[in-house]
């Protein structure tokens, strides 16, 4: 292939990481950075042990604990014995295999997709994997990042490589300016509502356009985070000055002349003029409203002014049954708006929306207001560093004064593995990424939305169009 052939960002990263390629076999792809957490790694380490293998590159591997851990006082022992064993097993595995670990006592602990970027480990042009589907988050900095299963975790631990079939490319162009009250979360929810939860299957997304360029890096992470909810394992955003300013000075980025050289190399990464994608879609940012989901997958979303769709309008019988089942689970009537629907819980957190800018948005709305006293409102920072920054800015005081519960960092009620969970039948406006049945607790019912919509709904006690509270 000619060196002058215009290439996409994805193609540049992919082609720079091919270790071996044989006819009839998948590509052997080199992995620059492997992030590990307690839930999807124990069986992989056990596999290494059984085969007598080592971790090939501990210095390109990093572990932390986020899923099973409490978000109450983390200095106390974990009450759930099975969770405690899993967390202890990660400590044992990291010690035995020499893998760096940010334990609960560490100032750098946090949700794996929050700490990678904030430490400056996530960098443009890297290949990055983790046994976690929201690894797509890291694509916000121009890294090819995707989730893998536990067998593949073992492959990467042992060889620093993965066997991969080359995916196709899908440009998601978002042009124009977002209107007040509309955020990065609404962009991605609108995209998934449009293409469906399988719309990106087999593809790597690249988000382009003026609305994406205008987003700060943390907003870009929110967008890339939910690429997997559109079926795409990875989502990418080309690195630019916004990216470099975000990374400059972070602990793990190159320093001095090496920084300048790195930035120069990163500037070569964006998709060349004339490069083509296998598929593309355009979204008008100015036409977007705050989004909210009504159903049991992230594609079942509507603008806040919209109404719940009717199964009667669906032709295909399996699709009709799927929608009817979702509405039955959610206890919603077709044709009615969601705005005004009573809720019981608000969750502000998760790898989608637990960064400092998310907390600032929510705090800005809650300052001087009270949450509806009927509600339980959980605010869970994404990492110890986010927590520290929030404390420095006085955000916990704002949340507490409003009547929210300010917690310690972790995945918390996004996945409900740690005791933070909905009770059966409860409705929750959540800034997380999945509204699957039972995701936030058995029988719990989730409305996915932005931190602004969540904060507004916390105040009113019903699903709320945040724009009604912005003067």
């Amino acid at each position: 292939m000619s060196a002058s052939r215009p290439r996409t960002l994805f193609e540049k990263i992919w082609e720079g990481h091919v270790v071996a390629e044989e006819a009839g076999c998948p590509v052997v792809l080199y992995i620059d950075l492997h992030l590990v957490h307690e839930v999807t790694s124990p069986q992989a380490f056990q596999g290494l042990r059984e085969r007598g293998l080592k971790v090939r590159r501990p210095s390109q591997t990093l572990a932390t604990m986020d899923h099973s851990i409490p978000t109450t006082n983390q200095t106390l022992p974990i009450v759930d014995p099975i969770a405690a064993k899993q967390v202890e097993q990660l400590r044992i595995n990291c010690r035995e295999f020499g893998v760096p670990l940010y334990d609960l006592s560490s100032a750098r602990q946090g949700i794996v997709h929050v700490i990678g970027p904030e430490l400056g480990l996530t960098q443009p042009g890297l290949t990055l994997v983790c046994g976690d589907s929201h690894t797509s988050t890291h694509g916000a900095l121009g890294a090819l990042a995707f989730g893998i299963g536990t067998t593949e975790v073992e492959h990467v631990l042992a060889t620093q490589c993965l066997l991969q079939t080359r995916p196709q490319t899908f440009e998601v162009r978002v042009d124009g300016s977002l209107r007040p009250g509309v955020t990065a979360k609404d962009i991605i929810l609108a995209f998934i509502a449009r293409v469906g939860v399988a719309g990106g299957t087999g593809h790597v997304l690249e988000y382009t356009g003026s609305a994406i360029r205008a987003l700060p890096v943390e907003g870009r992470m929110t967008v890339c985070n939910m690429s997997i909810e559109g079926g795409a394992r990875a989502g990418l955003i080309a690195p630019d000055d916004t990216t470099f300013q975000y990374l400059a000075g972070r602990p793990c980025v190159p320093q001095g002349p090496a920084w300048d050289a790195a930035v120069a190399a990163w500037r070569e990464l964006p998709t060349d003029a004339g490069a083509s994608y296998d598929k593309s879609i355009t979204i008008d940012a100015a036409g977007l409203e705050p989004m909210i989901t009504y159903g049991t997958n992230p594609g079942m979303g509507i603008p806040i002014s919209g109404a719940v769709p009717s199964p009667d309008a669906v032709g295909d019988p399996v699709q009709r049954a799927t929608l009817a089942k979702a509405l039955q689970y959610m206890g919603l009537e077709p044709g009615k708006p969601l705005a005004g629907h009573p809720i019981d819980v608000v969750f502000i957190g998760s790898c989608t929306n637990s960064r400092i800018s998310d907390l600032r948005l929510a705090a800005g709305l809650l300052k001087g207001r009270k949450v509806n006293p009927r509600l339980r409102v959980l605010v869970v920072p994404g990492s110890q560093q986010v927590r520290k920054q929030a404390e420095a800015e006085g955000l916990p005081e704002i949340f507490r004064a409003a009547g929210c519960d300010w917690r310690e960092p972790g995945c918390s009620m996004c996945i409900a593995m740690n005791g933070d969970e909905l009770k059966p039948g409860q409705y929750c406006v959540s800034t997380s990424n999945r509204n699957f049945e039972g995701r936030q607790g058995k029988g719990g019912r989730t409305f996915l939305a932005s931190p602004l919509t969540a904060a507004a709904s916390a105040v009113t006690g019903v699903v709320t169009d945040v724009r009604t509270l912005l003067q």
Partner: protein, 204 residues
Amino acid sequence: MEPITAFSSRVVPLPIDNIDTDQVIPARFLKTTDKTGLGKDLFHDWRYDVFGNPKPDFILNQGRAAGAAVLVAGDNFGCGSSREHAPWALLGFGFRAVVSTSFADIFRNNCLKNGLLPVAVDAATHAELMSLDPAAEVRVDLASQTLRLPGGREATFPIDSFSKHCLLSGVDQLGYLAEKIPAVEAYEQGHPARVQTGGGDKPG
């Protein structure tokens, strides 16, 4: 891993699209550090009531599911979480193949690493499978990449030749990767580590 051979089985229809891996195995069962023992919690929250009793109207609790090795589910099966516990739970129950019109990427990869066959068929075949007589059997043959319906008609299904070879011969894909270590070393010679994670707070 045992080599995959052709087999015949009754089918278990689950006519719902976009079944996510949280339904296949809810997150609270992921605190295990083992791969085994997950079959009893497969589709837990659809399968059991609040008291833990089997719900008689759920297909997995009905006679036709006992001993069946083929699950037929709606489109985009296995979306959402990357948890490999999903194929482990399906295998633990006794399934050897899942049939759908399409699969989520990570789930498909996880299946192929564990000897659970993801069988993607056309819409007409899928509809026929959904409405089969409960006692009817289909035959799944990886070697010929065919699924034979009770009437004798055969539908083909795709699989990449590498995974097919590994599954038919019972070969672990890590073996192939391990053979490539010289190429990995050569790559690392030419590409110094792009990032270093440092020691962590508790170096190993």
